[in-house]
């Protein structure tokens, strides 16, 4: 500690180290939050269901998404990224996941919502397997922290089915 510069350097280094510790503990505290999210998705209408010129099936749906993701927000949450994916099985792929809609929720107040939209992203199959297909609609979310580890989870809703013929 024999000069101004030496002390300033030592202080700065130690302060940044302690800052790293604080952020690690803040992130760790996220493990103790009690998370009880809920969601419901309704398919209001199948707008059209066709085979594209290149042979792939395509569907357009109108969805009604109701969700309460408020309990996911902690003091260390920057935003929650939520998306709806249609999941189904084909002979070619064990699991197909097609993202239909997503949103960034920046604050707790906006996390309890009800939205009715047609799919934001196109629902296109690899092939023509969608006629009469049973599929799940899964709401995935990623809780993005201000510092530290990101948590991701989902709710699977099953029981949806596409019509047997093109419309």
């Amino acid at each position: 500690m024999h000069s101004f510069g030496y002390r300033a350097n030592a202080l700065l280094t130690f302060a940044v180290t302690i800052l790293a510790f604080i952020c690690a503990i803040a992130s760790f505290s996220d493990n103790f939050s009690n998370q009880t999210p809920s969601a419901q998705i309704q398919i209001l209408n199948i707008n059209w269901f066709q085979k594209q010129p290149h042979g792939n099936d395509e569907v357009s749906l109108t969805l009604n998404v109701t969700a309460d993701l408020q309990s996911l927000f902690t003091w260390n949450t920057k935003q929650v990224f939520a998306f709806v994916a249609a999941e189904y099985e084909t002979s070619k792929n064990a699991l197909n996941q097609v993202s239909l809609w997503d949103a960034i929720i920046p604050e707790k107040e906006h996390a309890k919502f009800w939205i009715q939209i047609s799919n934001k992203y196109r629902f296109i199959d690899q092939g023509h397997n969608l006629r009469g297909k049973d599929f799940n609609l899964t709401l995935h979310w990623h809780v993005m922290p201000k510092t530290g580890k990101m948590f991701a989870d989902k709710i699977v809703m099953s029981g949806y089915r596409l019509p047997n013929a093109y419309r």
Binding site: M1, F4, R7, A10, L11, I18, A26
Partner: protein
Amino acid sequence: MDWQGQKLVEQLMQILLVISGVVALVVGYTTESFRTMMLIYAGGVVLTTLVTVPNWPFYNLHPLKWLDPSEAEKHPKPQVVPAASKKKVSKK
């Protein structure tokens, strides 16, 4: 700064920073405000800087006793002779 002062300053710096960190974490967690935590910690760092980095007088309470200049003249430094010449160096 004298030796005692240096030791004091190092201890003070570590203790003050750790306390700032702990207080910031506890207050931030209980008020559920990340921003509060960061502000308290930043304030703590600034306070610690003001207390430990400048050379305050109370760090110089045990100054080192340097030799008197007159005492030093009685014992001059030995003459440095180049290595090429083989004269012996004589100290008084």
